[in-house]
Amino acid sequence: MSQLNQGSGVVSARLQANEYKDNFLDLHPPLDPHEALVAADRCYFCYEAPCVTSCPTDIDIPLFIRQIATGTPEASAKTILAQNILGGMCARVCPTETLCEEACVREIAEGKPVDIGRLQRFATDTLMQTGEHPFVRQAETGKTVAVVGAGPAGLACAHRLAMHGHAVRISDANLKAGGLNEFGIAAYKSTNEFAASEVDWLLKIGGIELDLGKTLGKDIYLEGLLEDFDAVFLGMGLGGVNELGLSGEEKDHVIDAVSFIHDLRQTKDLSTLPVGRHVVVIGGGMTAVDAAVQSKLLGAQNVHLVYRRGRERMNASKYEQDIAASRGVNIITNAEPTRIIGNGAVQEIEFSYTVDGLLGLQRTDDTFRLKADQVFKAIGQSLTGVPSLLKIDGRKIAVSENGKTSHAKIWAGGDCASHGDDLTVTAVAEGRDAAEDIHRTLMA
């Protein structure tokens, strides 16, 4: 990366105009038809395939791959979308290396799994490029459901309910639907406005009304929704971010990673987006990695990702860590920030090394400082504005199987609900399963 602007501080246009495009190209470029056939040929059509067991949405992987291999990618896409209506996005963002592809028998046999994610993308892209929606809505049931949150959980739930003939209204605080698909996922995973076009395509099922710019607890209330609708599904994700609780945290350019990524995803011309010369990201999950990698791609000179525990405890997969390393991010583990130093704006940040032993995580006296003109906090998101009606489990809405909450007419799923693992695909599975349960309940 040839730096255009190596100056200190948080500035824009660090790179040549064309470099932005190259840097933010698709992480997993699509397969062409020949590559897809070669990749599909590798699938063994396993019995009760382990890959399927490892897919949170239980896509029939051997079947959809066989449908590609036999020249029917659109039938293949239907197999995928019948289980996972956001199969297109999941093909781009799923950490397949810890899901289906980790379980693939060819990973066991040769250390080289079938390219399930990219085959899924090939099939879903082929179908979605036709612009057609493959499912037909059942006759109207006269039942109505309110969905809060137009992220993966809410969209999957709404689609399945609409398919069954219910009338759905999705309310979202944002002015754009998609949730973190639109605002959170790394730019090089979802290129070409895919999130927005996927939402448009999904809504073609009919029977879903989008009600944007409506915040639960501010513009709409659970009590009102319960009165107006036969059931409610909550899929509002995690709106808050965790604080470090450090002195100096209020200094300029100490911001949460999610809002940095949010801005990045909504910036048309990335050369206008300012980034530091010395960037420090604090955290060890996917958000931390994405913030670090994308700062580097924007032209930051030094990017450090600092995690308080050992590498094996990081939530980002080994594969994600390797992406970070290959893009030039320095990963430092077993270090915790203690002080943010600067005069108005951040200049340095001080860390203590830690030991993670029997007594839990403990700081040592060994400290070091990193230069920083921009600091991203990525130490987790939290649920905000939980309706007082509902029982909480830890820091999330308590749900039992199929997303049932403590209230008989309210279901929840995705990141805001107590099950699950904060992945797009899990949110889709939970939204879908809740919809089926709502459907059963409404039709009983």
Binding site: D41, Y44, C46, Y47, E48, A49, A109
Partner: protein
């Protein structure tokens, strides 16, 4: 190192790998390149009578079926015999033979089923110095409709008659190429023998339609909306060819006639298998058409490495080696008991053996929740299907139970005695063992 030197009917070649009569041997340019690449001999693309040359369709002339990764498994063609003038072919044969005296050059012939036609062409071939002739009684398309090729090969009397004409006219060794489009291959082989043939070669292609174009609603390859049957060859036909070679090699009437083995030979191992079943040499077409002439290098190195390993110093030492072990079903030992064994270290847990056995066979493989697959000895009939479908070679094997061991499926201990259908109590025409 083992010698691959071959002597087939007195025709010497540095190795037993010949190119079969087909496009690879249709002209001097090809044959010279083949010899440079290392092929031991060629059977020149079939020559017809003098006169206006044969006309081929412009194409497409071939159709194919493929396995994984588009590996060509079967090839079908609707080409006819050479479409170049006879004099040019003869001149080229002469030039090539002169320059490669150590290689085998055999001329394949197909002329109308009249004595005069055969007697006219043979002196012309002799004049080239070719090592022998091969009579093409095999092509199943085009020429057959004109009373040649397989139209002759399917009638043993014609085979015998034409062979006799040829043997009366020339002292060149005469190989009769047989068509597989017949129910008992021994009959034309016997007819060739009676006519005085020095050898038979087989198989020619199998009548086939490769596929259907579902848009055009026409068979493929499709020419202007229509298709016709062609001749099938390539790896897919090897099992059929091997059986036919073996039938001739073990039939008391035909077993002494030398055989040139053809049909799906793609690598050294295929060649060794044909030779083990009695072929004195092999001929190759589709493999060369698929990969080019260079494959012969693998055939040469592979066969000689295997021969060294087995301590064979010449190919005669294993030709026909497997023939005594080809028998009829009724003589197979019904008291021989094997069981499938899964090597857990090699198993990748795909479950294909389970699906195959559970859905279509004997429900003899068990699956645990953590995907351990095991054979149930009390159900396994040793059909071998699991071995055939397992993607990991050598992961499932068939273990022979020792004499005296209990066969848990039948509850009967393994007998030391041979017991076959001829003496089995369920066989109404069984003879009591003496």
């Amino acid at each position: 190192m083992a010698s691959l030197q071959s002597n087939f009917l007195g025709i010497k070649s540095p190795n037993p790998f010949w190119l079969a009569s087909a496009p690879p041997t249709d002209k001097e340019y090809n044959v010279r390149r083949a010899f440079e690449a290392g092929w031991g001999g060629v059977v020149w693309k079939t020559l017809g009578s003098e006169g206006p040359p044969i006309v081929n369709v412009n194409g497409p002339r071939y159709g194919a079926i493929w396995g994984a990764d588009r590996r060509l498994l079967g090839l079908n063609n609707i080409e006819l015999i050479t479409d170049r003038p006879l004099e040019i072919n003869l001149r080229e044969i002469k030039a090539v033979k002169r320059d490669y005296p150590d290689r085998a050059v055999v001329a394949s012939l197909m002329v109308p089923c009249e004595e005069g036609a055969w007697k006219a062409i043979l002196p012309l071939v002799e004049e080239t110095g070719a090592d022998g002739v091969e009579l093409n009684f095999g092509c199943p398309h085009g020429m057959a409709e004109r009373g040649m090729g397989s139209a002759v090969g399917q009638v043993p009397e014609y085979v015998e008659m034409v062979t006799r004409w040829v043997k009366e006219t020339t002292r060149m060794p005469c190989i009769v190429k047989l068509t597989p489009n017949i129910s008992d291959i021994c009959q034309p082989a016997h007819a060739a023998l009676k006519g005085g043939a020095d050898a038979v070669s087989l198989i020619n292609t199998i009548t086939s339609v490769t596929g259907v174009d579902l848009d055009l609603m026409a068979p493929t390859p499709t020419i202007d909306g229509k298709g016709t049957h062609g001749g099938y060859c390539g790896p897919a036909v090897k099992p059929i060819a091997l059986n036919m070679v073996a039938q001739i090699a073990r039939n008391p009437i035909t077993r002494d006639i030398p055989i040139s083995g053809i049909g799906g030979v793609t690598n050294w191992r295929d060649a060794a298998e044909f030779m083990a079943l009695g072929a004195g040499n092999v001929q190759v077409c589709t493999a060369a058409m698929t990969y080019g002439f260079k494959i012969v290098q693998e055939m040469i190195s592979g066969l000689s490495e295997w021969m060294d390993e087995k301590q064979y110093t010449s190919i005669d030492q294993f030709i026909g080696g497997a023939v005594p072990n080809v028998t009829d079903w009724q003589y197979l030992n019904l008291n021989h008991v094997t069981k499938a064994r899964i090597n857990q270290d090699d198993c990748i847990k795909c479950g294909r053996c389970y699906a195959a056995c559970e859905d279509t066979s004997h429900q003899a493989i068990s699956i645990t929740p953590d995907r351990i697959f095991e054979v149930k000895d009390d159900e396994c009939v040793a059909c071998n299907l699991c071995v055939n479908v397992c993607p990991v070679e050598g992961c499932i094997t068939m273990e022979t139970l020792p004499v005296g061991a209990m066969d848990e499926r039948t509850g009967i201990p393994v007998s030391a005695e041979h017991g076959d259908w001829t003496t089995h109590p369920n066989n109404p025409s069984a003879q009591a063992a003496e």
